[in-house]
C-alpha cells in the first residue's frame, strides 16, 4: 500500500526565499540549503583549524620553542582543538549530512522544525568568528580544549570567557539540531515506513541526537559555573576558594566522552550508506547494526571517568570504567565485521568514496585497538596525556570521522550539485591524505610511549627526528586539500552531468532529480522499505513502491 504525502501548496513561505546561489547566503528554511551551509561553513573552519595544526607541527619540527611564543602556542592548540571538534566535525557529520539526508531518508519534505533548524545553523558562524577573533583581541583561551580549572581560571580571562560563550552557542546549536533530528525521525516518517526499515544513518542520528540532548546541557552548565568562577570569583572549581577541580573533570567528560560518539556514530551511519551502494550488496546484519548503535549510545554515557585514571579516582571507579570502556569495543567490532561482510562477495566499484570508507575502516581499527589498550588502567597510567593519546584520538576523529566526511562528499556530491567529481583527482586526494595521515600520526604512538607529553612546545631532543617525520605527514595532509578543493570547485561548474542516480542506489534521496527540487520530490514521496535491496529479484516485484518518483 502506498500512502501519498501531497506536496505543500506553492504559496508557502519557502517560495518567498531567495533562489539560485543567493539562497546559500540567506536565512533559508530548506533543509538541503541548511545542510550545504553547514558543510561549506564547516569546511572553511576545517581549513582554519588545519592551518593552526600546521603551525603546531612547524613549531614541533625542532625541540626548542622557536617558532612562536609559548603562550601563543597554547592558544593555537586550544583553538585548533576547539575549532576541529565544535566547528568542523560535529557540525558536519551531524548538521550537514543530517540536515541534507534525514528528511529524504524518512520521506519528509523538510525537517520537523525548519526555523529552529536555520537558527541552529546561524549560531555557528558568529560563534566561530568570535572564537577566532578572540586571538586578536586579548589573546585566545590557552588552557586546551578541555579548559581544566584551575588553569582556565588563572590564565587571562577575556579569551577564556569568549571561548566559553562560543562553546555555549555551539552547544546550543547542537542541542537544537538534536531535538530536530529526534522529532523528524520519530514523527515525520512517511506513513508505512517502519523504524526497522530506515536507512542506517537515521539510526545513527537518532542515537547521536539522544547523546547530544542528554549530555550537552551538562557541558553548558559546567561552563556556566566555570565562567562564574572566572568572572564572579565563585568557588565551584577554584581550589583556593574551596572548590573541587576533579568535579569539573567529571562534569566535562560526561559530555566530552560522548562527544567522541557524537563525532563517530554519524560517521558509522554514513559508511553504512556508502558501502552497500558501491559494493552492490545489502548492508550485512541490519538488526545487529541497529542494536550495536544502541549499545554504543548506552555504554558511551557511562565511561567518562576513563579520562581521569591518573587524576585521582578511587580504585573501584577505575575498574568499573575500565570494563565499561573496553566493552564498547564489542558493539563497535560488530559494526566493523558487518561492514567487511558487506564488502565480501560484492561487485565493488573501487572509487574514491569507497577508498575513503575503507581507509576509515583501517584507521579506525587501529584507533579502536589503542582505545581498548587505553581503557586498561595500568596502560593508561603510563600513556595518559602523552602523544600516544594524541595519536589514538586523531586515528579516531581524523582517521574516522574526517575520512568519512570525505567519503560522503565523494558519494553525495552528484546529488548536491548534479555533477560528478573527477575520479582520478579524487584518488590522488585519497592517496595523499592516507599516506600523510598515517605518516603524521602513527609515529606519535612511539613518541607517547617513550616519554613525550602532549601540549608541549618544547621537548626532549631525542624525539626530534620522529617529530619531523610527523610534521612531514602533516605537510602532506595540508597539501592533500589542494586537489580536493580544485576538484569540488572545478567540478561544480565543469564536471560531467551526473543524472538523478549515478550510483544506481536504492536509498530515497536518489529517487529525485539532482540537485533535488525545493520540496524534495515533485510529486509524492516514494516509500522505500528496502533501502539496501541490492542483488535481489527485480525491484519492481519485490518492492513495488520504489519507483514512485518516476510515476508522477
Amino acid at each position: 500500500m502506498t500512502i501519498s504525502i501531497p506536496p505543500t501548496t506553492p504559496n508557502n513561505s519557502k517560495s518567498l526565499q531567495p533562489q539560485g546561489w543567493l539562497r546559500y547566503f540567506s536565512f533559508s528554511l530548506d533543509h538541503k540549503v541548511i545542510g550545504l551551509q553547514y558543510l561549506v561553513c564547516g569546511f572553511v573552519f576545517y581549513l582554519i583549524g588545519g592551518a593552526l595544526a600546521s603551525a603546531i607541527r612547524i613549531e614541533l619540527t625542532s625541540p626548542v620553542s622557536d617558532f612562536m611564543p609559548r603562550d601563543v602556542y597554547n592558544q593555537i592548540l586550544t583553538l585548533h582543538g576547539t575549532i576541529m571538534i565544535f566547528l568542523w566535525i560535529v557540525p558536519v557529520v551531524n548538521g550537514a549530512f543530517g540536515n541534507y539526508l534525514i528528511p529524504f531518508f524518512v520521506g519528509a519534505r523538510d525537517m520537523a522544525f525548519p526555523r529552529l533548524n536555520a537558527v541552529a545553523f546561524w549560531l555557528i558562524p558568529p560563534a566561530g568568528l568570535m572564537l577566532i577573533t578572540s586571538y586578536f583581541i586579548n589573546g585566545a583561551a590557552q588552557s586546551g580544549w578541555t579548559a581544566y580549572p584551575p588553569l582556565s581560571i588563572t590564565t587571562p580571562a577575556a579569551g577564556q570567557i569568549i571561548w566559553i560563550i562560543s562553546v555555549l552557542l555551539l552547544g546550543g546549536s547542537s542541542i537544537f539540531g538534536g531535538i530536530n533530528f529526534i522529532a523528524t525521525i520519530l514523527k515525520l516518517r512517511r506513513p508505512g515506513l517502519k523504524l526497522m526499515q530506515l536507512p542506517m544513518y537515521c539510526w545513527a542520528m537518532l542515537g547521536t541526537s539522544f547523546l547530544v540532548v542528554l549530555s550537552t546541557p551538562v557541558l553548558a552548565g559546567t561552563l556556566i559555573l566555570l565562567s562564574f568562577d572566572i568572572v564572579a570569583h565563585t568557588g565551584f572549581f577554584n581550589p583556593v576558594l574551596g572548590g573541587n577541580v576533579i568535579v569539573y573533570q567529571h562534569l566535562f567528560w560526561f559530555y566530552s566522552h560522548p562527544a567522541v560518539y557524537i563525532m563517530v556514530l554519524p560517521a558509522f551511519g554514513l559508511v553504512s550508506e556508502i558501502l552497500p551502494v558501491h559494493s552492490r550488496k545489502p548492508l550485512f546484519g541490519y538488526n545487529t547494526m541497529v542494536y550495536s548503535i544502541m549499545a554504543i549510545v548506552f555504554l558511551g554515557l557511562i565511561v567518562w571517568a576513563h579520562h581521569m585514571f591518573t587524576s585521582g579516582t578511587p580504585p573501584w571507579m577505575r575498574l568499573f570504567f575500565t570494563i565499561a570502556t573496553a566493552f564498547i569495543a564489542v558493539p563497535t567490532g560488530i559494526k566493523f565485521f558487518n561492514w567487511v561482510a558487506t564488502l565480501w562477495g560484492g561487485r565493488i566499484s573501487v572509487n574514491t568514496a569507497i577508498l575513503f570508507s575503507c581507509g576509515f575502516i583501517v584507521n579506525f581499527v587501529l584507533g579502536g585497538i589503542t582505545g581498548v589498550a587505553l581503557a586498561q588502567v595500568p596502560f593508561d597510567i603510563h600513556v595518559h596525556d602523552t602523544y600516544f593519546v594524541v595519536a589514538h584520538f586523531h586515528y579516531i576523529v581524523y582517521g574516522g570521522s574526517v575520512f568519512v566526511i570525505f567519503s560522503s562528499i565523494y558519494h553525495w556530491y552528484p546529488k548536491f550539485t548534479g555533477r560528478m567529481l573527477n575520479e582520478n583527482i579524487g584518488r590522488l586526494h585519497f592517496i595523499i591524505t592516507f599516506i600523510g595521515f598515517n605518516l603524521c600520526f602513527a609515529p606519535q604512538h612511539w613518541l607517547g610511549l617513550n616519554g613525550m607529553p602532549r601540549r608541549v612546545a618544547e621537548y626532549d631532543p631525542q624525539f626530534a627526528f620522529v617529530n619531523q617525520l610527523s610534521s612531514a605527514g602533516a605537510l602532506l595532509m595540508a597539501v592533500s586539500t589542494i586537489p580536493f578543493l580544485w576538484n569540488i570547485i572545478y567540478s561544480a561548474f565543469k564536471g560531467p552531468i551526473a543524472g538523478d542516480n549515478p550510483w544506481q542506489a536504492l536509498t530515497p534521496e536518489w529517487l529525485t532529480s539532482s540537485p533535488p527540487p525545493v520540496e524534495n520530490w515533485p510529486g509524492e514521496a516514494p516509500l522505500v522499505t528496502k533501502p539496501y535491496g541490492y542483488g535481489q529479484k527485480p525491484q519492481k516485484e519485490k518492492n513495488p513502491s520504489i519507483g514512485n518518483a518516476k510515476e508522477t
Binding site: 620553542s65 609559548r70 597554547n74 581544566y148 584551575p150 588553569l151 581550589p239 574551596g242 572548590g243 573541587n244 576533579i246 550488496k281 545489502p282 550485512f284 545487529t288 591518573t310 587524576s311 585521582g312 579516582t313 578511587p314 580504585p315 575498574l319 575500565t322 570494563i323 566493552f327 567490532g333 560488530i334 565485521f337 558487518n338 567487511v340 561482510a341 564488502l343 565480501w344 562477495g345 560484492g346 561487485r347 566499484s349 575503507c358 575502516i361 583501517v362 581499527v365 581498548v372 586498561q376 588502567v377 595500568p378 596502560f379 597510567i381 603510563h382 596525556d385 602523552t386 612511539w446 610511549l449 617513550n450 616519554g451 607529553p453 602532549r454 601540549r455 608541549v456 541490492y534 535481489q536
Partner: protein, 291 residues
C-alpha cells in the same frame, strides 16, 4: 612478502567462514600463521623505554599481550579489507549486483562472542596487572606512621604499594613530599628536612610520595617507571614505587599547566644505597638520622 601472504591467507580463512566450500586446513594454517606472526611481532618489537621500577616489568607484560592482540586484529582487518577490495572489485564488463546476503546469525554470534571473550580476557588480565602494581591497595595505609596527617585527609588515587615485603630489605620506606608549581617540582624529605629540585632515591628501596600542587594541576610522570599521577591543588595524591635500575631518568609534567609546561622537567636520580646515603648525609639538616 610474508605479510602479504598473511593477508591473502586471512582472506581465505574468513572466506571459509562465509563460504564453507574452502577447506578447513587453510583455516587452521592461516590462523596459526597469524597468531605466530602476532606473537613474533609482539615479542620482538620493543616500543618502550628501559625498565627502571618494579612496576615497569609488570606493565610491560600487559603491553606485550595488548600488542600481540592488537597486531593480530589490525593485520587481520587490514587483510580483510585489502583482500575484499582486490578480490571483489568489479571487473571490466561485469554487470549486476553481488550476492544478496543480508545476515547470517551464527556468523554474527561468532563475531560478537569472540571480541567479547577477548575483551573479557584482557580486562581480567589487566585487573590482575593492576592488582600486582598495587592499584587496589588502600592508599596511605603503609605510610601512616610517616604522615599522621594522611589519616585525617582524604587521599585521592594513585598507585599504592601492594607487596608488604616492598617495605624495603631493611624495613625502610622512603617518604618524600612532592610539591608541584608552575613550573617546577620540589622534593621534600621530611626525615632529613631536605628540599631538593631533583629526586634522589636508592635502588631497591620503596619510595612513597605525597604530592600536592600549589597552583594548577600538574602530573608527575617518569616514563622509565611507567608511572604517572596527577598532582592536584587542594587534594593530595599518593604514588608509591620501587626503583630497580641505577641511572638518571626524566620527570615530566604531563598535564597542561601553562606557557612553560613543556619546560617543566626534572630528574630522578636512582643510585646505589651508599651513594644515596652520602647524598642524604650531605644535605640533611639533622645528620643523626637513619636512612
Amino acid at each position: 612478502m610474508r605479510k602479504w601472504l598473511f593477508i591473502n591467507n586471512l582472506g581465505i580463512y574468513l572466506g571459509s567462514l562465509i563460504l564453507p566450500s574452502l577447506t578447513a586446513i587453510y583455516t587452521i594454517l592461516i590462523s596459526l600463521g597469524l597468531i605466530i606472526g602476532g606473537i613474533w611481532v609482539g615479542s620482538n618489537v620493543n616500543l618502550l623505554p628501559v625498565v627502571a621500577s618494579s612496576n615497569a616489568p609488570i606493565y610491560d607484560e600487559l603491553f606485550k599481550v595488548l600488542f600481540i592482540i592488537g597486531t593480530l586484529l589490525f593485520f587481520g582487518m587490514l587483510g580483510l579489507v585489502v583482500y575484499s577490495l582486490i578480490q571483489f572489485r568489479r571487473k571490466p564488463g561485469q554487470t549486476g549486483d553481488g550476492l544478496a546476503i543480508e545476515d547470517n546469525l551464527p556468523l554474527e554470534i561468532f563475531w560478537t562472542a569472540v571480541p567479547a571473550i577477548v575483551i573479557l580476557f584482557v580486562g581480567l588480565y589487566s585487573y590482575d596487572i593492576y592488582e600486582r602494581m598495587g592499584g587496589m591497595e588502600s592508599l596511605g595505609a603503609n605510610n601512616q606512621h610517616h604522615h599522621q596527617m594522611a589519616s585525617k585527609q582524604r587521599i585521592w588515587g594513585g598507585i599504592g604499594s601492594k607487596d608488604k615485603s616492598m617495605q624495603g630489605a631493611n624495613g625502610t620506606l622512603i617518604p618524600v613530599e612532592v610539591t608541584a608549581m608552575q613550573f617546577a617540582f620540589l622534593f621534600h624529605y621530611p626525615d632529613g628536612d631536605i628540599i631538593s629540585g631533583e629526586l634522589h632515591v636508592p635502588i631497591g628501596q620503596p619510595v612513597t610520595m605525597k604530592m600536592e600542587s600549589k597552583d594548577v594541576i600538574h602530573a608527575f610522570w617518569v616514563p622509565e617507571f611507567r608511572l604517572k599521577q596527577d598532582v592536584i591543588p587542594g587534594q593530595p595524591t599518593i604514588l608509591n614505587f620501587t626503583p630497580t635500575r641505577v641511572g638518571k631518568y626524566p620527570i615530566i609534567c604531563a598535564e597542561l599547566c601553562g606557557p612553560y609546561h613543556g619546560g617543566m622537567r626534572s630528574t630522578v636520580v636512582v643510585e646505589e644505597l651508599e651513594d644515596y646515603q652520602n647524598w642524604f648525609a650531605k644535605n640533611a639538616k639533622k645528620p643523626d638520622l637513619e636512612v
